[in-house]
Subunit: 456 residues, 2 copies
């Protein structure tokens, strides 16, 4: 028995709850008695399985997954070399790719794992059957893992922890025995669902029927291409659906932007959406997992959302959940401010007022005879390096050396741009004692420093 | 004598300075004795010419400009209907459009009006000659107006004041006698330049030679198309160059974005750049007029900038001026913050802490028996509308009614997203007396409120 299971025995949540009977147990949320410090405690005290080495590799392989994930593409490749791909079969394979893909994305994922909408019984049966055709395990098993993935994203309790690397989160987690047990996740709601129970019961037969017999039979009975149906609509199509789904765990945690939050690895990218039937706006999805959408803009590619929306228009789905727009916008705003704050921190600003000497009018006069000093809005500026650069000409600056140019600068002679005012502030060398006029307080702040990103 | 001139007589700047002799006058900056309140004073006290009506229209037309601006397109149109356009002539017309266009943009505008770089004598002669071919007045006259345009943008002292409407700033200001005299602008630097003086002297002959004879002769001697040269490389090309330049005063103050500052009308737009040989990034240009660039990104269309750059590579130009990048970025940052601040102000935020009642633990207990209240990070939250919406399930919320869920919420059970924390803050109804734990102060600010755009 592995150390993982031993650890679990002494986990506080297991000790706290009296053991219920099997049927009853399924109906009670798995995390009903979860202690307050479950995550930190488990991460700290759970001993991982020993690392995988070349020596223990064979004992650490999950043979069933390995078989499915290697035999399917082998059959497909064999097919490509030995059988001509007919266009009808090609078309049917693509269609069947989308049907079984939607079974996973609209069914397994958005409906059952995230309860992001309600589906009528007919739609549920359709999605359960289509999803079975993707051969990715039963709904219950799949959702158990996926909920743990969301609940413990990027930690050792996340079964497809993206920090383990691209290939591990793509496929390694299925082929290798995991080092850690996935964290507790409740699927008691699914155990109560008759469609899910039916699928779980008949799973093996459904796989064979929907995964292989059906696509083969359609091509065979439809246009006599039995072999093509098996090779392409069966095996090749399945291989594509597999890696399409796997990309949600690998590519979607790796490629793209984080417009809603960057605490964790999930990212938004159009390419990911393209290869995953619309699941590529994964940064949004991890922030707002109970939203039936992944893409919130009409021009983004999210056919799963479109499918759900059409179903709801037809009365087959209802209660499509949307996270309040106000809160979605907050996330975007925060991320944009974060970027702009970096810009803000990276720029050079006017010297801080606190650090500047306060200089009397007499002293200013005296020093202005040695270097070109000009007063504007209570500040003394040294314009040495600017005399010959001034777009308004040297003569206008020279004229104001040792004088107050506030009125002239702020529109009397020329209504300087905000950029000029910003530049002016960079030349501050002192504060004129008693030099701040009433009503000009706002002029003492350069325009670029009026709006500032502050941290609380 | 018009009222404008009368007003000017009593203007303080004119009275202050003793009248210099003509030649001497040209060498002294026109604004050397400009008073501190020149702009406000002039705008207030200058009486405009009476409004133009149908009755006084004829007296208010500027006949020379009107003639040039109507006869040129008439000749071009006549040519299109009576003479076949040969491809050599077409190509030559396009090339000549760019040559004369660059004369204006790289010469008149960026070199002489804005001194944004230094040009060697040969380049100056080339630009002066090419610019003459655009038939837009002498360098001195043109720069006088353009400097006033920059100095008094969007006011009555701006000769092409965009607030007078699109057509006025495009062409009206030339055809109609202006209601106001343009504000003072200094061009004494140009009066000292021998190339400019030469052009001014020979202007009429140069127009005829470069504007019409040269383009006609090239086509005539080159491929025997004298008439085509006159109609197309002469008149039609000139008409295009005219309206191309005029677009800088109209379209560029009307179409597009203001990424650097929105105090005035100038705007950035690719389309404007396309039709003006690169002068379309006009928002940038009005902020940083002495920058030899209009477009700062390599992928933006600014052939005038490319031309100047090539000239400097060839040693024909030098001292290409660039406004400090630090200051350019400040402008962009301010504009972005301005937009985001609108978003920030448009969102609904957590109720302000100052307005919330402080509630004792006992009172919290009592009230929690009537409605679902949960404490997190020292705040009491009412989760009535969220019990059935909670993605983690109703049971976890119910468990914490009347209790402190801080540890559970912040990772003990589930490390909630920033979005969840933001949403939580919206449900605040009170502050728990003495409920703020040490070390949790940062948790009392929802993530979206940690970075805020503040106004100073
Ligand atoms: C040391 C302080 C000054 C700085 C940093 C400064 C900066 C600038 C800058 C950057 C411009 C370019 C246009 C713009 O961005 O608005 C400009 C133009 C101008 N400045 Fe100043 N300026 C200063 C002082 C003055 C003073 C004291 C006067 C007048 C008495 C003045 C008169 C002008 C005029 C008339 C122009 C317009 C030039 C044109 O567009 O032809 N400046 N100044
Ligand atoms: C009233 C305060 C609460 C609010 C507003 C809230 C909000 C949310 C939200 C928005 C999510 C979706 C995922 C995310 O955005 O992070 C979520 C998930 C979750 N919440 Fe809460 N929550 C609250 C209280 C609690 C408490 C007290 C617990 C635990 C004792 C809890 C446990 C969970 C769990 C386990 C999930 C993960 C569900 C999954 O991904 O399968 N929540 N919560
Ligand atoms: Fe994920
Ligand atoms: Fe998900
Ligand atoms: Fe302009
Ligand atoms: Fe300009």
């Amino acid at each position: 028995m592995s150390s993982v299971v031993e650890t679990r025995k002494t986990s506080p949540s297991q000790n706290a709850a009296p053991k219920p009977k099997k049927a009853e147990k399924e109906e009670v949320p798995a995390d009903i008695n979860i202690p307050d410090n479950y995550v930190a405690w488990t991460l700290k005290s759970q001993k991982p399985r020993p690392p995988i080495t070349w020596d223990n590799l064979l004992q650490n392989l999950q043979w069933v997954s390995l078989a499915v994930l290697t035999i399917t593409p082998s059959i497909a490749i064999y097919g490509f070399f030995t059988h001509k791909l007919r266009w009808e079969t090609f078309l049917w394979s693509v269609i069947y790719y989308f049907i079984t893909g939607l079974g996973i994305t609209a069914g397994y994922h958005r409906l059952w794992a995230h309860r992001s909408y309600n589906a009528s019984k007919p739609l549920q049966y359709f999605l359960a059957i289509a999803g079975t055709g993707a051969v990715e395990g039963s709904i219950k098993w799949w959702c158990r893992g996926h909920r743990a993935h969301h609940r413990y994203t990027d930690t050792d309790l996340d079964p497809y922890n993206a920090h383990m690397g691209f290939w591990y989160s793509h496929i390694g987690w299925m082929i290798l025995k995991p080092r850690y047990k996935p964290g507790v996740a409740d699927v008691s709601d699914l155990s109560k669902n008759s469609v899910i129970r039916w699928q779980h019961r008949c799973y093996i037969w459904l796989i064979i029927g929907i995964g292989f017999l059906l696509p083969t039979a359609v091509a065979g009975l439809g246009w006599g291409d039995w072999k093509g149906g098996f090779f392409f609509a069966g095996a090749a199509r399945l291989c594509f659906v597999h890696h399409s789904t796997f990309c949600v765990n690998s590519l979607a945690h790796w490629l793209g932007e984080a417009p809603f939050d960057d605490k964790h690895t999930p990212r938004d990218h159009f390419v990911t959406a393209l290869v995953t039937v619309g699941e590529g706006y994964h940064n949004f999805h991890h922030q707002f997992p109970m939203d039936y959408r992944n893409a919130i803009r009409w021009y983004q590619y999210d056919p799963t959302k479109w499918f759900i929306w059409v179903c709801s228009s037809l009365g087959l789905a209802s209660h499509l959940k949307i996270f309040p727009d106000n809160e979605v916008k907050k996330g975007q705003l925060t991320m944009q401010l974060k970027k702009l704050r970096e810009t803000q921190e990276g720029l050079v600003w006017a010297p801080p007022v606190e650090d500047m000497p306060v200089i009397s009018w007499e002293s200013f006069q005296e020093q202005a005879s040695k270097r070109p000093l000009i007063v504007v809005a209570g500040f003394i500026h040294d314009v040495s390096d600017f005399l010959d650069e001034h777009p308004g000409g040297r003569h206008l600056l020279v004229k104001y050396i040792g004088r107050d140019a506030t009125t002239a600068f702020f529109g009397g002679v020329y209504d300087h741009s905000n950029a000029a005012h910003n530049l002016l502030s960079m030349k501050r060398v002192g504060i004129l004692h008693g030099g701040t006029q009433h009503g000009l307080q706002d002029k003492s702040i350069p325009p670029a420093q009026r709006l500032r990103i502050a941290r609380y």
